[in-house]
């Protein structure tokens, strides 16, 4: 099989690497060598991409937040302040790393290293382009969920090892959140798997490419659930309660400084990229863009989608206050979980109907899309009204305006 039919096939870096491996194989090198080379090349590429993206997004996040907050943001170091993250990185690298006296030294040292590993490992199964995937696992979806949730273990180690009460509180919150939101996350992914019939990420993308539809239209509820659950797991506002600057200072990484703190920051960003990548792959069609991937490099399309999703996180951070832990837990168990269960049920029913009637995809998918979006909006709005907005105490209010002093207008909240 020739990979490079013509020179523009080089646009996809995966093709280039594959061609290089083929060329190596033709030279009669030992069979393990191409594996080794491809692994190393992939690993380096992933790490390089993750770090560069992170640097870029440190800048982008600060600039965007500044724009949201009617100020300028970093604009001194380099053009448009683009060198600001480099300066930040140098500062972080050159700072002293302090270990508190009461800390558990091993855990304290282990946690910042361990916490980036799951995030980077999870990147390995993300298909950036048609052949640009380090390990095309047939259980890719499960792998992402399983690996990324282990980061919480290291967060807990950090909180425990710091011998700081704020850290401990943050770590406890983090674990509590994981337990609640992992369920929601897995159920959201399950509905996708039911639709596609595979949990290999490449299959999910090509399924969307084959039917020329993105799963966002077929699975809007699942996307909502996944986005919320993942934003909790990667500690982004409005659910950054494990860090909660205004309450517990910085949560589990209160005691960390210098590059150890930088590692937590890196883990947070890369975990955010993994989430954004998962959303891009599962719901936004991965590297496909309705045939445009023939001309535009697939990885470019994919990265644009990924960054778009990540931008959403930044936007939320600039906009929303934070929820309290019990409210966030209640939201998972009382609001998202039933919705996700219904969503899985719905997906199953739709697939059965589709299989039984054997109707053409062009007919079935639009119907499902319209139906699912309507059901999704209806469920979310209805449930939200039922849970919150219809209760008088949850309604926004205005203060009374009176003219005379001396009167008392107090009424206990329970009487409302």
């Amino acid at each position: 099989m020739t990979l490079l039919d013509s020179w523009w096939d080089l646009r996809d870096l995966g093709h280039a690497v594959a061609a290089f491996l083929e060329w190596l194989g033709d030279r009669g090198v030992p069979s393990w060598l191409p594996y080794l080379v491809s692994t190393l090349v992939g690993l380096m590429a992933l790490l390089l991409w993750a770090l560069l993206s992170q640097l870029f997004f440190i800048w982008a996040e600060r600039r965007l937040l500044a724009r949201i907050q009617v100020r300028l943001g970093p604009n001194r170091a380099g053009p448009f302040g683009l060198l600001q993250p480099v300066a930040d990185a140098l500062k972080v690298l050159s700072k002293e790393m302090i270990t508190p006296r009461g800390a558990d030294k091993v855990l304290f040292w282990l946690a910042p290293i361990g916490v980036v590993v799951p995030a980077i490992v999870a990147l390995g199964v993300i298909p950036f382009g048609q052949r640009m995937v380090l390990a095309d696992l047939n259980v890719g979806l499960l792998f992402i969920v399983a690996v990324s949730s282990t980061a919480t273990l290291f967060v807990f180690l950090a909180g425990w090892g710091s011998a700081n009460k704020y850290s401990l509180l943050g770590a406890m919150r983090s674990v509590a959140m994981l337990i609640s939101y992992e369920v929601v996350q897995v159920l959201a992914l399950l509905a996708v798997a039911v639709f596609v019939g595979s949990i290999r990420l490449g299959d999910i993308v090509s399924w969307q490419g084959r039917y020329n539809t993105w799963l966002i239209f077929l699975q809007p509820l699942g996307l909502l659930g996944f986005l919320i659950a993942s934003s909790v797991e990667v500690n982004r506002t409005p659910s950054d309660i494990a860090e909660a600057e205004s309450e517990i200072v910085a949560g589990y990484h209160t005691e960390y400084g210098g590059i150890r703190w930088g590692m937590f920051q890196m883990a947070e960003y890369i975990a955010g990229f993994v989430v954004a990548a998962t959303v891009a792959v599962l719901w936004l069609g991965g590297w496909t863009l309705w045939g445009l991937e023939e001309w535009v490099p697939g990885w470019l399309i994919f990265l644009i989608k990924l960054y778009g999703v990540f931008f959403l996180f930044i936007w939320l951070r600039g906009t929303l206050p934070r929820l309290r832990i019990d409210q966030l837990m209640g939201f998972a168990w009382k609001f998202l979980l039933p919705l996700m269960l219904l969503n899985v049920l719905l997906a199953g029913l739709e697939m059965v109907v589709w299989k039984e009637t054997e109707a053409p995809a062009e007919v079935v998918l639009p119907i499902w899309a319209v139906g699912n979006i309507a059901i999704g909006v209806g469920l979310v709005v209805g449930w939200a009204l039922l849970m919150g907005h219809l209760r008088p105490r949850n309604r926004p209010a205005r203060s009374l305006l009176v003219r005379e002093v001396g009167q008392i207008y107090y009424r206990p909240l329970e009487e409302v």
Partner: protein, 365 residues
């Protein structure tokens, strides 16, 4: 499971204590069993220092107690001394004082609401929006007296100097702009469901408790007690302006926040009237530099943005106060805090503290 309660120190260095103030929380998990306040980290012994300085020299101290609301500090002290020495104030000075106090209230409430929403977990966005308006108010202060924060503008018997000619036109511009800004905040914050969920029913202080604990200002009004010294005991030119007292109903953090937001609107309303009604004339009654009020005592109090700010001054006929006591609303509003946060969680305690809106310079003095 039975375990030892966890004691954490919120502060003295903490993002949400608004200064060097310390809360010692005894926790069972996240639930607060007990709360103890520790203060004094910013104690400068102003009451003692003031006994060494002349009556006029003490005015800068009143800037630095409540440093987010220097104008009202000046005003309260000058009122107390004028009451003690029987010094009349010209009408234009009364109006200038009213304008300054209301601008200061607006600026101070901007900070109060911004930091409160920050405590709720918003990442500085509302705070910076509020800063934008506060900046404009501070620019006006700079125009009038050359300082932005510690203004030192009021004098015994009037104000330090007349308003510059461009002050009133610029104030008029600002007043025209502010109502739509406040509407923007109401849209952004009051209707924000997360803020409602976070602040509704948290840190409840009933009207009876509020009165018994001597709390004042937006905290008292948030608990449903219609009490405002500007109405109850009008000073400066407040008798001649029309405004309403915003009153909360349930006495929780959300109500205190709403009261502050509504007070910003009322401040703008007062400013609008003041712009039309300010007379011309002298701004200061000549007062000797080394003022010697007759022996006696006076208690001058005003409605500062944080509550009832009072100055209890005693004179023995000398050139400096014999006793100089500041009835600081920030300190006394803290009295019910342990009661309010008991049984809540750590995040609730933080926003309750934020809704009380203390300025540690005034708590510790």
């Amino acid at each position: 499971m039975v375990g030892e309660p966890l004691v954490i120190n919120v502060g003295p260095q903490h993002p949400s204590t608004h200064g060097v103030f310390r809360l010692k929380l005894t926790l069972d998990g996240e639930r607060i069993l007990d709360c103890e306040m520790v203060m004094g980290y910013l104690h400068r012994s102003m009451e003692k220092l003031a006994e060494e300085r002349t009556w006029t020299q003490n005015i800068p101290f009143t800037d630095r107690t409540d440093y987010l609301s220097a104008m009202t500090g000046n005003l309260a002290y000058c009122l107390a001394v004028e009451k003690l020495a029987g010094i009349p104030v010209p009408p234009r000075a009364h109006w200038i004082r009213t304008i300054m106090a209301e601008l200061q209230r607006f600026a101070s409430h901007c900070m109060a609401i911004g930091t409160f929403v920050n405590d709720c977990g918003a990442w500085h966005t509302p705070l910076l929006y509020m800063m934008r308006e506060r900046e404009k108010v501070l620019d006006l202060f700079e125009l009038a007296c050359g300082a932005r924060l510690t203004t030192n503008y009021m004098r015994i018997g009037g104000v330090a100097r007349d308003l510059p000619p461009e002050f009133l036109p610029r104030l008029r511009e600002l007043v025209k702009e502010l109502p739509q800004r406040i509407a923007e905040y109401e849209e952004l914050l009051v209707e924000n469901e997360i803020i409602v969920a976070r602040a509704r029913g948290i840190g409840v202080l009933s009207a009876e408790q509020a009165i018994a604990y001597s709390v004042s200002g937006p905290m008292l009004r948030g608990s449903g007690v219609a009490w405002d010294l500007r109405k109850a005991n009008p000073y400066a030119a407040y008798e001649q302006v029309e405004f309403d007292i915003p009153v909360g109903v349930h006495g929780d953090c959300y109500d205190r926040f709403l009261v502050r937001l509504a007070e910003m609107r009322q401040s703008v309303r007062i400013l609008e009237q003041a712009l039309d009604m300010i007379p011309s004339g002298p701004v200061q009654t000549p007062v000797p530099l080394a003022l010697r009020p007759p022996p006696g005592e006076a208690y001058g109090r005003i409605e500062s943005p944080r509550g009832e700010l009072g100055f209890y001054v005693v004179s023995d006929g000398g050139p400096s106060p014999f006793r100089f006591h500041i009835r600081s609303p920030s300190l006394i509003n803290l009295t019910p805090l342990p009661e309010m946060v008991r049984g809540l969680t750590v995040p609730d305690a933080i926003i309750t503290l934020g809704s009380i809106d203390i300025v540690v310079g005034e708590v510790d003095r």
